[in-house]
Symmetry: C2
Subunit: 462 residues, 2 copies
Amino acid sequence: MSNLSSVLDQVDAELDSSLERLFALLRMESISTDPIYADACAATAEWLASDLQSIGFEARVAPTKGHPMVVAHHEGPAGAPHVLFYGHYDVQPVDPLELWDRPPFDPQIMDMPDGSKRLIGRGTSDDKGQLMTFVEACRAWKAETASLPIKVSILFEGEEESGSPSLLPFLEANKEELQADFALVCDTNMWDLKTPAIATALRGLVGEEITIHAADRDLHSGYYGSAAANPIHILSKILAGLHDDAGRVTLDGFYDAVSETPDEILKQWDGLGFSAEDFLGEIGLSSPAGENDRSVLEQVWSRPTCEVNGIYGGYSGEGSKTVIPSEASAKISFRLVGDQEPETIRKSFRKFVSDRLPADCTVSFKDHGGSPAVHLDYEMPELQKAANALEEEWNTKTALIAMGGSIPIVGDFKSIFGMNSLLIGFALGDDRIHSPNEKYELSSYHKGTRSWARILDALAVS
Amino acid sequence: MSNLSSVLDQVDAELDSSLERLFALLRMESISTDPIYADACAATAEWLASDLQSIGFEARVAPTKGHPMVVAHHEGPAGAPHVLFYGHYDVQPVDPLELWDRPPFDPQIMDMPDGSKRLIGRGTSDDKGQLMTFVEACRAWKAETASLPIKVSILFEGEEESGSPSLLPFLEANKEELQADFALVCDTNMWDLKTPAIATALRGLVGEEITIHAADRDLHSGYYGSAAANPIHILSKILAGLHDDAGRVTLDGFYDAVSETPDEILKQWDGLGFSAEDFLGEIGLSSPAGENDRSVLEQVWSRPTCEVNGIYGGYSGEGSKTVIPSEASAKISFRLVGDQEPETIRKSFRKFVSDRLPADCTVSFKDHGGSPAVHLDYEMPELQKAANALEEEWNTKTALIAMGGSIPIVGDFKSIFGMNSLLIGFALGDDRIHSPNEKYELSSYHKGTRSWARILDALAVS
């Protein structure tokens, strides 16, 4: 414990220089979904590898067909466990830019009226701020003890926000190098500002994009209106049919592999003091929009969903244009639970769309990736060690929760390496990840770093 | 007739220099719907006023709250009729730019395999090429006779493609100056490549834009999916409900003021040899999409319609983004016939949308203008004179047709000045106006100019 205590002091003493490193990382425009930021992604990977080398990691930038990976290793004491830490350095696009209060890649610390501080900028919470809590914990251990309490490998991905196309091939091609005893993944939330959480269930994801094609060119609506098929009308009709009046998804067989959440888990969730009113109220809403026979917590944690994430077709500029466009598109994603197979859901969706195409229209599909849902093992001894370490830092019981989001790598770690994953993160539900004015509480960053310092220590104890 | 014959020779002899002037006009990027092109619109108006002055018109650029008007006058022989010619110098936006074979504002003449020639570029057909046929006919008359056969006033508008917001106030404020015996409007089509046409009926137009608002920010679909209202889902459902399975518009009272086309007119249309198969086949379609108990010609000429011209919301960039947007929008237009009142239709539409909003959602509306349908007087003597002049130029009977498009100024000329309008144009249905690769047949331009030279002559005869 003497070591841990001085390591925690070191984290506190070095907070300012730690933030300087984080801000250097946040300034890099590593948007993975748009090819024009490819150089920025590569530069970000180089920066991370070089920073890890500065702590004593053996680190390299590993090319892929898309954005590169960062892989790093550090030895631990003989007989100590070996963990693989995962984070991602890519970030979401920043549009609509006009809704940001300041430039998204010019991070700053904001003083809040209650005396707390926030880090503001794209990636502060998702996921650069989170991954740096682990890096900085390692740096503090090295500074104080010239070593780490356990053996640590690190994998930083640059395509998490764009469906991770290179991840699976990379894991398979580097199976031996990346094998560890278990994984640590830092891309999730705390229960609330003061309560740490470990996520034990994650929904899967299927991403699709459809484009409805009609006439072979854009048409003048005065000359062709009503006689010529309008692909926006057809797309609207198809999307409107994806949910029934009870909020259920209408795809054939969609709920076949969905199992009910056990009563004991639902009871535990009840005990968390979740308020649907607060959850929706915080984003300006009041009525749950999903399946009308499910609680809000079920809707976002344990039920499968279908959401249209984007739609575009025809004229969207200023004013009006009397055009019938030749095509219209939508981006759609499904969240999966239980044993829903991504490819089965994709197939059912494509059939649903194709079955509803009128004469003269065609559809093209784009596959934006997929991953099944994951349920972690409650009996995993490392889970209890990490939960206790978190409890010591935050002085309150660690919440074991489910997550609505999808972290496909957790499934890959299990299927390729047989590794379980501990999902520990310090983000908050109001961090506006994927939105303008993304933020990360300074307390998440500071106490998150301290939490990892404690977890590294706790995991060393056999 | 001796004068006319030498004027026609003059048109032929000056074709090359006439095209040079047209191309100078076409190079000006006078897109009226987008405020960033305001300077280009102003420059285009200046160019036109100056060109008209060079022929001997008294011409001026008249400012409005939006883009300026061009107003010009030229005296005629004592006792000759006085016409007001209308055209518009603004053009449609050029997106999607990547579908153009060459830059839209770099016009060129293309040699076709059949030996014909085409003018290619934005505005060649709608409406710069058309309005210049009249200007060049006046120029030829002046060159040959130092005068015009009738008194001519000219009004060129710069906001026709964006709903003409300044037109009505301008007409009312300049009523005395613009009053003439009747109007000539050149913004319509020929029946086909070899058959001239005068349009005697035009549909009206109502333009609306709606934005559905839900949460107060963009949301992560993993955290909020299904629980939070998705404005794209709501918008899709509303748009999908605008037509029933028979292709009829479902707005309350939509068909109340729609009268049936008289049998004799339907019979005349039958005689035009219109082929629905060819009409749709030319744009890559084969099945009429509108009211299933109406012919295609009725659908596009004499029936009211509702078309979504654009839709946008959420993420539309490369790849995917798991977002639930805070809002989603659509641009919608209605074509009106008979006595349908634009404001009645607008009100019915807004009620339709508001009635379908779920809890937590709001809607905002933008008014993109409106105009009633217009039916011209078949008994107008000038109609027969112009029809005969066209027949002489094209060696075939002039078709008297209806038009699916809307030209609001025709209604304004009637209501403010009591003037009837002759709608004569040389565009073709396949000119791709409002679309990439807009074109105008060289024969439309050349013989169009000759046609106006003949019409000016014919109208002078009492």
